[in-house]
């Protein structure tokens, strides 16, 4: 920790103005590669944007952030020109600011709660957070913001899954002096941050740098370890000698639509498509060994971040025409606004209020998709208007690839080998507010508890559980 600065600060005088835009690569150039789209703020832009912040006495933005980051505090540090201190403020609550600054749905969270939202020009909190995260990552490892490590407790914790929940939990536990080993079933750690979210939105080097940092503070990462088969939770707590375990295994089970023709060649789940491209780097094939079907005309079914990622990835693999088929209206798409905007800029065609009925094919390969038009009925329990089929409105879209981005469910692999672990009826793990499951010393958090959510919520759950586990370990 840094010494407390006692000198009185000059009073902050906010500077009125509009949000500083973030520089981006040109849409036509960027769809030819997987390089990042947004370029981030430079120091001058960050400072100018930060100067717009009112430094509210009771900042409402903080409550908009699921993990209550001291937003006013870190922006204050940018105003003072003390980026190092800003990083420290962020890191107390957010293990991966460079990632969250890029992928949080800020327009629904922190920025939606900023007092300046009323003017239509809320502070660009995400971009400032990204600025600080990148500032930290650009430093040589020795100078990076690293947490102070408590003296060794002698306790050992197993963390299952290396997505945002697992990584945040591991970091927090290591900081509190526990010996942490992360077990990851894939050959690379990072979870959805590496296998799902594409390079052009979240460069993998950033995630790797954060993982390297964890290794530096003593976290051990074991890849190729499928918990449920290679080790069960019980093995970890008995034969392997861990004192506690955290499960952050995500919600990795793709949902298919069940329509005819879904097993034709050229139909992918978004998980498979994105995994082949991001994790296995099929976009470098044949320099990398894993192929992916490169469609000329691609239909992506869905309206969330995953659908946007799949559509924009297909463009970058060389598709001439990419359609996004969604059964509700555009305003109701759950994707981040920025992703919708980018997808449109890059030329994705939005086919709204249409629902797939059948994938059409010839000789085993996709040739098209039959869809039916939808209209919106009365609002349902979620407040959204339920889409209903318009009878007789079927028509065919021509395409050679269909990507189903319909969401994910709980993967039962781990739980099958832990019959005593309490699950809800959809297969998600049941926990109390601290993340404790019904098994002593076993905690869980992230998508495997809440269902598909967000990076920051998963991280928050990992950190919260780590605090509760720390207390539990010190008691037991």
């Amino acid at each position: 920790m840094r010494p407390v600065d006692e000198t009185p600060k000059p009073r902050h005088r906010p500077v009125k103005g509009t949000r500083i835009p973030m520089r981006e690569n040109d849409p036509l150039e960027r769809i030819a590669s997987f390089t990042e789209v947004g370029l981030g703020y430079d120091a001058a832009e960050a400072h100018t944007e930060a100067m717009r912040c009112l430094q509210c006495a009771k900042p409402p933005c903080v409550d908009g952030c699921p993990v209550h980051i001291d937003i006013k505090g870190f922006i204050g540090k940018i105003i003072e020109g003390d980026e190092c201190a800003g990083v420290e403020v962020l890191k107390t609550r957010n293990a991966l600011p460079a990632a969250c600054g890029r992928v949080c749905p800020q327009e629904e969270q922190c920025e939606a709660s900023c007092v300046l939202q009323r003017t239509g020009q809320p502070i660009a909190i995400g971009r400032l957070e990204r600025y600080l995260g990148d500032f930290d990552l650009a430093r040589v490892p020795a100078e990076r913001c690293r947490p102070e490590i408590a003296p060794a407790s002698g306790k050992r914790v197993a963390v299952v899954g290396s997505g945002p929940a697992g990584l945040a939990c591991a970091g927090e536990l290591a900081m509190r002096g526990h010996g942490v080993t992360v077990f990851e079933s894939l050959h690379v750690p990072g979870g959805v941050l590496v296998y799902g979210i594409p390079e052009f939105r979240l460069p993998k080097a950033l995630v790797q740098a954060e993982i390297d940092m964890l290794a530096e503070i003593g976290v051990r990462i074991v890849t190729d370890a499928v918990v449920g088969t290679t080790y069960t939770i019980d093995d970890l707590l008995t034969a392997e000698g861990f004192d506690a375990a955290f499960i952050g295994s995500g919600a990795g089970l793709p949902i298919f639509s069940g329509i005819p023709g879904e097993n034709l060649n050229g139909v992918y789940s978004s998980n498979e498509f994105l995994t082949r491209v991001n994790l296995m780097r099929a976009y470098e094939f044949p320099r990398s060994d894993t192929p992916v079907w490169r469609g000329r005309t691609v239909a992506v079914v869905g309206g969330g971040n995953v659908a946007m990622d799949a559509a924009r990835t297909a463009l970058r693999l060389g598709a001439a025409h990419v359609m996004l088929v969604y059964r509700r209206a555009e305003e109701e798409m759950p994707a981040r606004h920025e992703e919708v905007h980018h997808a449109r800029q890059e030329g994705v065609e939005f086919v709204m209020l249409c629902s797939p009925q059948e994938v059409l094919g010839r000789d085993g390969f996709v040739t098209g998709m039959r869809v039916t038009r939808m209209e919106l009925g009365e609002p349902d329990e979620s407040g959204r208007r339920a889409p209903m089929c318009v009878i007789g409105s079927e028509f065919d879209l021509e395409c050679d690839t269909v990507i189903m981005a319909l969401g994910t469910r709980a993967n039962p692999l781990l739980a099958k080998a832990a019959p005593d672990l309490e699950l809800d009826k959809r297969g998600y793990i049941v926990t109390d507010a601290d993340g404790a499951t019904n098994l002593p010393g076993v905690y869980a958090g992230g998508d495997i508890v809440t269902g598909s959510a967000t990076v920051i919520r998963a991280m928050g759950a990992g950190k919260d559980a780590a605090r509760a586990m720390d207390a539990w370990l010190r008691r037991s």
């Binding site: 990795g252 789940s269 780097r281 044949p286 990398s288």
Partner: protein, 279 residues
């Protein structure tokens, strides 16, 4: 990294590899598989255990050189390393309480059939093994099978160069006709399993097949391995690889196995350019 302990060439295109993987070996069961990556650029590719030792911490598998990954594997020798080995994956094969069973192993399928037949024998089933290959050269593991307490071992070759002349379905049909088996299990190329299942279906002999769809993660995350069984979508990696052969849509499986043929040819050709092994 996982150390290669030994390799052996069994025939022109078939090889055996023994790898140190203690955590995987400790949990392996007959009929299960694992996923490997050869190197940092490697694809995730599944292979079934042909043997393992929990005590000594190794696994063994037998593979046929068909494309890039299996080509790269043939270049490795004892002391080299595989980048990744993850497993065990899939549901173990059912053994015990089956009564009189015919286990059919075709081609490299024999490698998978071996531990399954062994487990069945150990569990008290009465096992007849039918081994099939194109010719005597390609026949593998015959001695290992002979060492098991089998009821019978029938060897079939397409050209008659060893054992009986003909396809594995001929003796399978005879066993069905004489009412000599209660169950059957077929492991081999999809086309062979399809015909085995068609053979036993006529006699209503329950038949399990071990499917080999294209996979990526092997843990139920991607859905690449989906197969239609009785009209339902199943994931080969977590629901299988064993399924009821009478319900499997083999045409779909075979079609899905061919999706990347052109890419696979490109990848292997690229690699072979810089390679002098002559395979």
């Amino acid at each position: 990294m996982f150390e290669v302990l030994a390799t052996r060439q069994l025939s022109d295109a078939v090889f055996e590899m023994k790898v140190a993987a203690p955590a995987v070996a400790a949990k392996a069961h007959a009929g299960q598989f694992f996923i490997l990556r050869v190197d940092a650029e490697g694809e995730r590719v599944p292979f079934t255990f042909s043997d393992w030792s929990a005590e000594e911490g190794w696994i063994r598998f037998i593979f046929m050189r068909v494309g890039l990954t299996t080509h790269k594997l043939t270049h490795l020798a004892a002391g080299d390393f595989l980048a990744d080995v993850a497993g065990p994956l899939g549901v173990p094969s059912h053994a015990g309480g089956l009564g009189r069973v015919a286990v059919v192993g075709g081609g490299v399928g024999a490698a998978v059939a071996y531990p399954v037949a062994r487990a069945m024998c150990a569990a008290g089933d009465e096992v007849t093994v039918i081994l099939g290959a194109r010719n005597a050269e390609l026949l593998i593991l015959e001695d290992e099978f002979r060492a098991l307490p089998l009821k019978d071992l029938v060897v079939m070759t397409d050209d008659g160069s060893a054992g009986r002349h003909g396809l594995v379905t001929a003796p399978l049909k005879e066993l069905c006709e004489t009412g000599a088996i209660d169950h059957a299990m077929a492991i081999g190329p999809a086309i062979m399993m399809k015909f085995c299942a068609a053979t036993t279906k006529e006699f209503a002999v329950p038949t399990v097949v071990s499917l080999n769809p294209i996979m990526v993660d092997g843990t139920g995350m991607c859905g690449a391995c989906r197969v239609s069984v009785g009209g339902e979508m199943k994931f080969g990696c977590v629901d299988g690889p064993d399924f009821d052969g009478h319900l499997v849509d083999f045409e779909e499986l075979m079609s899905r196995q061919r999706v990347y043929v052109d890419d696979e040819r490109v990848a292997d050709a690229e690699f072979s350019k810089g390679c002098s092994c002559g395979l």
